[in-house]
Subunit: 379 residues, 2 copies
């Protein structure tokens, strides 16, 4: 039993984060991850075990030397809520203290939804997550479309809901649930989800491609989200895009957003307007090809090439409806980039469809919550 208690709450939080992420497995690796002396970490671990946040769970034998005493978070120490929404639906997930997704909620929004309705739906979803939860709600993360200021928790603008203007999502949720609340842009939340739950775990530099109704990207650089000076980094859907001859000048998302892609594929195959559920059919179809397909691949290659040359990232994760196009699409785009851009031919370049599903945004919001929480002070 050691005598001196350490009470730096934020470092305690950081320690839990490392243990939960699996990056730190034992006291020694935790010390390395946090950049603290092993003796100091020992004190912190004592605190966390005494607080019921983490526990020792057996030994990890290496090839030689004393085995590590494995540290694992206590799943029942509390839970985190992640909630995310767009024009169509609110989606929420519950994540236990060990970082496992254990429950979820979806609520469709009527076309007539206004600000009040949406906020109500968000609160309802979060509250519903608490059913049968182990331990208390510790923090809430929220993802919102458009420009979001994570410092103030304000979502600036969302055209789909009347009256949605500088909505202080953080205040609303904090008032209702009385826990810490973190707010972030939708797509950036997905980038965090990738980091906690997906393939981003292994990379410090990656980019999430988010072709949906528009086209944005989220950039992770040196393990941190890149937000830009006005929280508007990654809005490449608005890139000037060469017209197709008939139309004069367009924006990139007019040609490469998800609806635009479905349209281009449908035009090429049937010349008939594309019904909503043809998406699934097309997406499953491994044999889509032809000029339209090639043009789409070339267009995506152009965008990726530009991004790669500016950002020099390690990996692209494709998110959203277009993941339905499968590995093949990513591979072909990759190849097209190399072919088109000699400068990139020699560079490692990898584009992969995200392994996360439709609730990636909510998972990312939950990651925000996990990162926002710090253990209560005191013994």
């Amino acid at each position: 039993m050691r005598t001196k208690p350490a009470i730096q709450r934020d470092l305690l939080g950081a320690a839990v984060l490392q243990v939960r992420s699996g990056r730190a497995v034992s006291r020694s690796s935790l010390a390395a991850a946090l950049g603290l002396a092993p003796s100091t970490v020992g004190l912190y671990v004592d605190q966390l075990i005494a607080g019921g946040y983490i526990d020792e769970s057996g030994l990890d034998r290496g090839p030689i030397g004393r085995p590590k005493r494995r540290l694992t978070p206590q799943p029942g120490a509390g839970w985190f809520a992640g909630v995310e929404f767009n024009a169509e639906r609110v989606q929420a997930v519950r994540v236990d203290f060990a970082g496992q997704r254990v429950a979820s909620q979806v609520k469709r929004l009527p076309g007539t939804a206004d600000t009040r309705t949406v906020l109500q739906a968000i609160k309802t979803c979060v509250a519903a997550l608490g059913k049968n939860a182990q331990g208390p709600l510790l923090a809430i993360g929220a993802g919102a479309p458009g420009v979001v200021d994570p410092r103030t928790g304000v979502s600036a603008e969302y055209a789909f809901f009347p009256g949605w203007h500088d909505v202080s999502l953080a205040d609303v949720l904090r008032e209702r649930f009385e826990v810490a609340v973190a707010v972030e842009n939708n797509l950036r939340a997905i980038a965090l989800a990738e980091r906690w739950f997906g393939g981003g775990r292994d990379y410090d530099d990656y980019v999430v491609l988010g072709p949906r109704s528009g086209f944005g990207v989220a950039i992770v650089h040196q393990g941190r989200l890149m937000r830009g000076a006005h929280h508007a980094a990654g809005e490449i859907g608005r890139w000037p895009w060469p017209g197709d001859g008939s139309a004069p000048s367009r924006e990139m998302q007019d040609a490469l957003s998800a609806p635009a892609i479905w349209r281009r594929l449908a035009d090429a195959t049937t010349r008939v307007p594309l019904p909503e559920d043809l998406r699934a059919a097309l997406a499953g179809l491994a044999s889509v090809s032809g000029a339209a397909w090639d043009a789409i691949v070339a267009d995506y290659a152009r965008v990726i090439a530009c991004l790669q040359l500016v950002l020099d990232t390690e990996r692209f994760f494709l998110h959203g409806p277009l993941t339905g196009l499968g590995e093949r699409f990513c591979t072909e785009v990759e190849r097209a980039v190399r072919a088109k851009s000699p400068a990139l031919a020699a560079m490692p370049l990898k584009i992969v469809p995200s392994a996360l599903g439709d609730d990636a945004g909510a998972l990312g919001a939950a990651s925000l919550a996990m990162e926002a929480w710090v253990p209560a002070a005191g013994e």
Copy 2:
């Protein structure tokens, strides 16, 4: 006289940096800048004064309250060398301990220069800087073209010099001068120069535009250089660029590098090949205009719009020969961006020609040196 000596060398170095940059004027503002307690900073300042690195130089009266005791670096405590080169010349500057540029050296390189010659020229320049210098040489910064790994100090590739391949510039200089050496890419060094000596002082997010023989940008995000996963961020000169009808597909720098711009302007005015020194004439000419000029402005606007949408920065600094085109060019590009991109019309966007001259690269290298140095661990 205080009792406890503080001996965190890197913090001492950070303190000097703050004082030198002018961001910290007194003990109290230094405490705020470093995030340390005022009492702790007092100890560090005592150390630095005792070491002869900084001094008190009078009082700074505010509107009310006890005046600050102004801290200033001792110019004679030592000096820093910054050296930078390209295919044509080696350029070096000496910066005194207070951060003032006090001497410089230029050495033209023969067309036949190989790796050995260049390294020799670099060493000669740095050595020559030491003439009549006050105090000892404390550190060297070096800027090199192409991909540079600042961690190892290796410059990967430079086509203009035979045999230039993975040259360990840091080792070469460290061996010769026996001081700390920091190496960085040319253009990124310029971005640092902007931060220390130019307009970048007031911004944490900015982009340096470097149209020279190619076209690169250096990105500063949250006060730090963004290098990318393979030290290759910002190589936008290789962006795919729509061909002009005759030629098929090109790279952006084929149309927007400095030589390309001179060519386009010359073609438009005289239809005669442009002699080397027409540059100056053209550059001085405030009345250049016409279709070629407009096309150039539109092309630059396109590039800036793309960059701004990805990076969401605060300010663009135009460097290199094209600064000769003057404020007017920047203003027109700015206007064209707003006109072309509705998404950016509402955003603050500012493009300015750099106030730094031709030795910006060397100054930036000197900044590297200043940042690399830490005080000796005194008694």
